[in-house]
């Protein structure tokens, strides 16, 4: 009896070991945002390089938490926003410096590459290269909310029960700009920054009854706007443009106080197993024809030089429709976030969510 038991146990252990043996094909573990690795391009990459891309979808905060938990292991490439890299890197060392010589810099828009290299510079070395960019602003149903033109309309009683935004830091910062403040100027002064955030938080609490729901999932928001449950939302431009294709009443509006500009990047985690594949993927994705495929699908501009010429006319039309020249000059690009501001913002966001 006992012998049988032991034999069974041994067989089970052996079975597990056998099952968990990795398959020999080369893989790239990619930690990214939803939509950033379209199947078409994953298949094309596989055909070109014989590397399987395994994609995990997430957002900025979870990306950092995942890499922090493993001290930068488990993924070969991550795509955080450029402003969330330097302070995190200083504190937790989750990325490795990027070797620019392995990047095909000719195919990247120079000003964007330089800006990202500068903003992600830690200990004299750049830690990321740009991939794509876009803005946060308002997505408005122009038939039902014809006058919504700034973030303050999210607090406008005329749209009671028809408003939605995320309880995340971009909302606080955008609202600060709409109230005539400059939160970026207070980044270096935690006391003043906290006072400003408390003020914004109070404004959000006072107007909480106007909110239909705080969205956290882009698809759910698009669904609610499609069903006319929401008239005004703070959201990404590409979401608004996707809705515009289905329903011309809905469109992205660059707010008067400035759309919030973000750049998402490529950064290689500290303990990446296959950094060579990561470099291959970066160069592959930034090749103009591939970047154009991505832009056509996601309505989101890239850092690839010349890709814009290859994109559909409708994608370019989106941009021209929503942004005048003045709107473009007014885009507020996120500077790198200093450490510890997140906990100030987190407290304010908790208070907003907990209030009645």
């Amino acid at each position: 009896m006992l012998r049988k038991m032991i034999a069974l146990l041994v067989a089970m252990v052996a079975g597990f070991c056998f099952l968990s043996t990795p398959v020999s094909a080369e893989t790239l573990e990619l930690l990214t945002w939803k939509g950033y690795a379209p199947t078409v391009l994953v298949d094309k990459f596989k055909a070109e390089t014989n590397i399987d891309v395994k994609v995990t979808f997430t957002n900025n905060e979870e990306m950092i938490a995942k890499l922090r938990a493993t001290r930068g292991a488990g993924f070969d490439l991550a795509q955080p926003s450029q402003d969330r890299i330097s302070s995190v890197q200083e504190k937790y060392q989750i990325y490795q410096p990027i070797d620019i010589s392995k990047i095909n810099a000719d195919q990247i828009i120079t000003s964007m590459l330089d800006a990202v290299k500068k903003n992600t510079n830690v200990a004299g070395k750049p830690h990321a290269v740009p991939f794509c960019w876009g803005t946060d602003g308002l997505v408005v149903n122009k038939k039902l909310a014809p006058n919504a033109s700034d973030y303050t309309d999210l607090l406008n009683a005329a749209y009671e029960g028809r408003v939605s935004y995320r309880l995340k830091r971009p909302t606080l910062i955008a609202m600060a700009f709409a109230m005539g403040e400059d939160p970026f100027a207070k980044y270096s002064d935690p006391v003043a920054y906290k006072a400003l955030m408390d003020k914004i938080g109070q404004a959000l609490i006072d107007n909480k009854k106007l909110v239909q729901n705080y969205w956290s999932n882009g698809d759910a928001l698009i669904q609610s706007m499609r069903a006319n449950e929401i008239y005004v939302a703070m959201a990404w431009d590409n979401g608004g443009w996707k809705l515009h294709e289905e329903n011309p009443d809905i469109d992205f509006v660059a707010p008067k106080s400035g759309a919030m500009g973000w750049i998402d990047t490529f950064a290689i985690p500290a303990k990446a197993k296959n950094p060579e594949a990561a470099y291959k993927w970066i160069n592959f994705m930034l090749r103009p024809e591939n970047a154009a495929i991505f832009t056509n699908l996601e309505k989101c501009g890239t850092a690839s030089k010349g890709a814009i010429k290859l994109t559909d006319a409708s994608v370019r039309a989106n941009f021209e429709r929503s942004f005048s020249d003045a709107d473009i000059d007014n885009i507020k690009w996120y500077p790198p976030v200093p450490a510890n501001l997140e906990s100030i913002e987190g407290m304010v966001l908790d208070k907003v969510k907990a209030s009645k």
């Binding site: 038991m5 922090r68 449950e229 913002e345 987190g346 208070k351 009645k356």
Partner: protein, 285 residues
């Protein structure tokens, strides 16, 4: 039996011990160490009880916890109220042929994941959803009504999610109840109410308490349902922990909250056992 190492026992108990130490005890110890450390204003890590202090000093944290605990007790009670008649019907009323079938019917929704079930409720309840569609069609409502994103929807979702965990212990408790006791009580002039209160419930009490513990703990630790169905007001304590870990990057604070959740919920269960005069050892059998 001769003294010495009992290999049979060692073989059977070692996976359990390994499971407990590696997956429960060690992470808890690590969490505790993290919870009693905090950053001082200079950004250096050191020993501190500040994480625990913040919970009691900052009203939003303990209020969120209180809210979560009160709602969990309410959900547990509602689950009991709904499942008790169902369990009684399945074990005592319906013909034995259909017992298994009915139990499977209750079980069935649990074959799909919680997320799918919650989304199902959201499709039914949302403003442009199924229920509103029919209410409008039959003229009950003139304007679609928002039924999602409030406490009622959230409690309903939580009750639905936890019904099975109350039903199973109740079924087994009721099965051991002798039908003759109920018949005798009727013969002696008992009515439905007195029989329920003096025979059925006292007999099932261990089952009720064990079901309640499971439901209470699952509800308290739920993240998905309050978040998705409770909407803008549905702040649950688990979400506070998530926010500390993910949004504020403050793992130490999050660990402290996790620990407080463990201690406070254990305290509430201890209180519940005392009030119902049950012993944990008996209840979990």
């Amino acid at each position: 039996m001769k003294p010495g190492i009992r290999w049979g026992l060692v073989i059977f108990i070692s996976p359990v011990l390994a499971w407990l130490t590696l997956l429960i005890v060690l992470p808890q110890v690590d969490m505790f160490i993290m919870a009693i450390r905090a950053e001082n204003p200079l950004g250096e890590m050191g020993f501190s009880l500040g994480n625990f202090k913040l919970f009691f000093l900052e009203p939003i944290y303990w209020r969120t916890f209180a809210r979560t605990a009160i709602f969990s007790v309410l959900v547990t009670f509602l689950t009991f109220l709904i499942t008790m008649p169902v369990a009684f019907y399945i074990t005592k009323v319906v013909s034995p042929k259909f017992q298994g079938f009915l139990a499977v019917l209750v079980l069935m929704p649990f074959w799909v994941s919680e997320l799918v079930r919650v989304y199902g409720w959201m499709i039914l309840l949302r403003e442009s959803g199924v229920i509103n569609h029919f209410l409008l069609k039959f003229g009950v409502l003139e304007q679609p009504m928002e039924m999602l994103y409030n406490d009622v929807a959230m409690v309903m979702g939580l009750v639905y999610t936890s019904m099975l965990f109350m039903l199973v212990p109740l079924l087994s408790a009721l099965e051991s109840l002798d039908n003759n006791l109920i018949e005798a009580a009727y013969d002696l002039g008992g009515n439905v109410w007195s029989i329920a209160m003096r025979i059925v419930i006292p007999h099932c009490l261990p089952g009720i308490v064990s079901g309640s513990i499971v439901v209470f703990m699952l509800t308290l630790g739920n993240y998905l349902t309050p978040n998705l169905m409770g909407g803008k007001n549905g702040l649950w304590f688990t979400e506070q922990i998530y926010n500390q870990f993910i949004a504020s990057f403050n793992w130490n604070q999050g660990s402290a909250f996790g620990f407080l959740l463990l201690i406070l919920s254990s305290g509430i269960i201890w209180l519940g056992l005392k009030l119902t005069h049950q012993r944990l050892g008996k209840v979990v059998q």
